[in-house]
Symmetry: C2
Subunit: 390 residues, 2 copies
C-alpha cells in the first residue's frame, strides 16, 4: 500500500465536535493535529467560549489555541431544520465518520438514542462535569479533590488553586483516546457505542493512581502542605545570586551523587550523614533531612549566578531547570522556536503571526501535520454543507 508514510496517522477519521471551553475542544484539537478531520459546530455568533480570555486585539487567543486545525461550521440548532442538519452531518456515511465528541448537554435530537437511529454504528463520546451529569468544571472538581490544600506556600492559610486546568486537559486527552478505542471496536465488530466520562471521575481516578486516595483512607494523618518541596524525595526551588529561581531535584541515588559533585558539597553531605545517622542515597532520608540539606544548597546557590549554576549542573548531569515566566519562555528558551520542529510561525486570522505547536506525538511511519491556525468562526459552513449534501 504505497504512500502511507505521506499520510498523517489519523488520516480518514472524521469527528464532529459540539463543544465549549477546554476538555472537548482540546480532545478535538489533539485528533486534528494528528490528521483527523475535526468539524466543530457552533451557533451563529459562536458558543459561550468565543470571547474567552486571554485576548489580543479583542480576539480570543484561547479559542484560537483550542480549535487549531479544525473546520468550523455555524448552524442554528434552535430550529428543527438546524438540528436535522447537524444530526445529518454527524451521521454522514463514510468508514471513518459517524463520530461525535461533545461536552455540551445532550438531549432530544442530540442524544445518543436519537443520533444512533440515523447511523447504527455511531460513536459518541460525552464529557460531563459530574458522573451523574451534574454541572462541574475543572475548578470545582479540583476544589473537591484536595489538591488546593497541598499546593502553595507552607505558611499560607487558605486553599491554593493551580492555574493550569489540568483535569480539563486530562479529560480531553482521555476523550480522544476513547474515540480511538471505540473506533478499534467498531472496526473489529462493526458496532458503535456511547462513551461517557466525567471531569470528576477523571480527577478521582488520577488521584487514586497517585496514591492519594489510598493515603487518605489508610493513614490517620495524610500528608499536608509542603510548598515547593516534592513530597517524599529531594526537590525544591532555590534562588541564584542574580535573582533567578531554579528547580532542583535528586530522585535517584545517582542524581544525588551528581549534585554533590556539581556543588562540591559531597563531603558536607557525608559529614551530615555521619552526624545524624542517615544515608542520603535513600529518598526517605533526603526527605527527612531536607531542611539541613537545603540550607547548604541555598547558600551555595545564592553565591552564584544562574549561568554558573547551570554550567555546573549540566556538566554533572544534575536534574534541574530554571524557572521562567511565559515571557522568558518565549524569548529565551530554544524549545519555543523553530529549532523545535513541533513549532512553526503560523498566521492566525485576526490575531497575527506567532509560534504555534503541532502535535507533541511523532510517528515514524506517518506524516507530521504542520501546525495550523483555528478557523474563522463559520469559515467552512458552506463547504461542509455542500460536501455532505446538507
Amino acid at each position: 500500500m504505497p504512500g502511507r508514510a505521506d499520510q498523517p496517522i489519523l488520516a480518514g477519521l472524521r469527528v464532529v465536535e459540539l463543544s465549549a471551553f477546554v476538555a472537548a475542544p482540546l480532545g478535538g484539537a489533539t485528533l486534528a493535529a494528528l490528521g483527523a478531520d475535526v468539524i466543530r459546530v457552533d451557533p451563529p455568533g459562536g458558543g459561550t467560549d468565543i470571547d474567552r480570555w486571554p485576548l489580543h486585539r479583542g480576539r480570543s487567543l484561547y479559542w484560537a489555541g483550542l480549535n487549531q486545525g479544525k473546520r468550523s461550521v455555524t448552524i442554528d440548532t434552535r430550529t428543527e431544520a438546524g438540528q436535522r442538519r447537524v444530526a445529518g452531518l454527524i451521521a454522514a456515511p463514510g468508514e471513518g465518520g459517524g463520530i461525535v465528541l461533545t461536552n455540551l448537554r445532550v438531549k432530544g435530537w442530540s442524544s445518543y438514542a436519537e443520533l444512533s437511529k440515523l447511523r447504527r454504528d455511531l460513536i459518541m463520546v460525552v464529557i460531563t462535569g459530574d458522573r451523574d451529569g451534574g454541572t462541574a468544571v475543572d475548578y470545582t472538581v479540583n476544589a473537591a479533590l484536595g489538591f488546593p490544600w497541598l499546593t502553595g506556600p507552607v505558611d499560607h492559610d487558605g486553599p491554593v488553586n493551580h492555574v493550569l486546568p489540568a483535569w480539563d486537559g486530562m479529560a480531553g486527552f482521555l476523550a480522544a483516546l476513547a474515540i480511538l478505542a471505540a473506533e478499534r471496536h467498531r472496526r473489529l465488530h462493526g458496532e458503535g457505542q456511547l462513551v461517557e466520562l466525567s471531569l470528576s471521575d477523571v480527577g478521582l481516578a488520577v488521584a487514586g493512581h497517585l496514591g492519594l486516595i489510598g493515603e487518605a483512607m489508610l493513614e490517620a494523618q495524610p500528608r499536608g502542605r509542603f510548598g515547593n518541596d516534592v513530597y517524599g524525595t529531594f526537590g525544591r526551588d532555590f534562588g541564584t545570586r542574580d535573582g533567578r529561581r531554579v528547580m532542583l531535584l535528586a530522585l535517584t541515588a545517582r542524581q544525588w551523587a551528581s549534585l554533590g559533585e556539581a556543588t562540591g558539597l559531597a563531603r558536607d553531605f557525608a559529614a551530615l550523614e555521619a552526624q545524624v545517622g542517615a544515608d542520603f542515597r535513600k529518598e526517605a532520608d533526603r526527605w527527612v533531612h531536607r531542611a539541613s540539606l537545603c540550607e547548604m544548597l541555598a547558600e551555595w546557590m545564592a553565591e552564584r549566578d544562574l549561568a554558573e549554576v547551570g554550567e555546573a549542573f549540566e556538566r554533572h548531569g544534575v536534574l534541574w531547570g530554571p524557572y521562567q515566566t511565559f515571557k522568558q519562555l518565549v524569548a529565551e528558551d530554544p524549545r519555543v522556536s523553530i529549532a523545535n520542529p513541533m513549532f512553526a510561525e503560523v498566521e492566525h486570522p485576526g490575531l497575527g503571526s506567532f509560534l504555534t505547536a503541532g502535535s507533541p506525538l511523532r510517528f515514524s511511519a506517518a506524516a507530521q501535520v504542520p501546525p495550523r491556525p483555528a478557523p474563522a468562526l463559520g469559515e467552512h459552513t458552506e463547504e461542509v454543507l455542500r460536501e455532505f449534501g446538507l
Copy 2:
C-alpha cells in the same frame, strides 16, 4: 460475532511496559483498566520507583496506584540472557502484541532499531523528558513553562509549584492514545513504528492550546498572578461562617443570573452595574469589577454555613463546589464510595483494603473491567515466561 459486549474494550491488546515513576506507568494503567494485558518489566528488587512515597506500612501506595491491573515480571537486564528474554517478550507473536511503552532510556538491545529486527511490525512508544532526550521531569518542565509565576497567592514572592504532576499525567494519557493510533495504522497498513513524545513538548503544546504562548508573544504585558481568581471571568474562593471554603464561578450569563437569584444580590449587582456603567452578563465586565462583586459575595457567604450556602446554590443552579481535604473527600463525598460504580473495595497485597477506581471511561458496548490492585513485584514472572516460551 457473539459475546463482544462481555469483553472489555481493549481486549486482545498486549503492551510490555519498561517504566518508572508516573508518565509511562499511568499510560499502562490506563490501558490495563480498559482490558489490555499490560506487562510491566522491572529489575529484580524493583525499579527506582518501587519505594516512592506516599507509603503505608512501609509500602508504596504510589507504586500500587500507578500499576493497577498489570502483570509484573522481574528480569535482570544487566545480563545478555535477560535482555534477550525481555526482547523476546516484547516481540512475541500475536495480532495484539508487539507493543512496548517506555519512559526509560532506550539504547542498544532496547532501541527501536534492535527490537524491530525481532518483530517487523513493532510499535514502540518512548516518553522522554526533553525532546532531544535530555533529562527533564514534570517539576523542571513546569518550572520552565511559566505556570509557577501565575499560581499561588497574589502577594507571594516566588514561584509556586502545583503539587499535581499534571504533565506526567497528560503525557501518560497521550502515550496511551499514541499506542491506539499506531495500532490502528498497523491494522490498516500492516506496519509498526516508533512514536516519540517528550514531557516538555506536551507542556508546550498544552500551554499553546490554552493561549498562553500566543499571549506571551503578542502582548507586551501578559497576565500576572491572580491567586484563586479565574482569569478573565468570574471565579474565586470564599469562606463560609462555619470555616469552610467554597469555589464559586459564573462563566456564563445564565450562571451569573443564577448567582444573583441564589444570594438575593441581583439588585445590588444591578445597582453597581448602573453606577460603573458595566454589563455583568459579560465575562470581561465581571472580571474588571470582581473586587466590588467579591466584596458583596464574601459578606453574604460569611454570614452563612456551608449547608445553607450549598442549598441555595443547588436550588438555583449556581456553578460552585466546596473545597475538601483528601480526608474530607474520602470521608464525606459520595463520589468516593461504592455508590460511584467506578470504585470498588479492593484488597491490595501488603497494604490492605481501600476504595480503588477503575477507568473513568464507560463504553456502552464493552464490559467494564473491575478495579484491580497492582501485582506484587514479580508476581507473574514464571507465568509470563512460560506463556511466551521464554
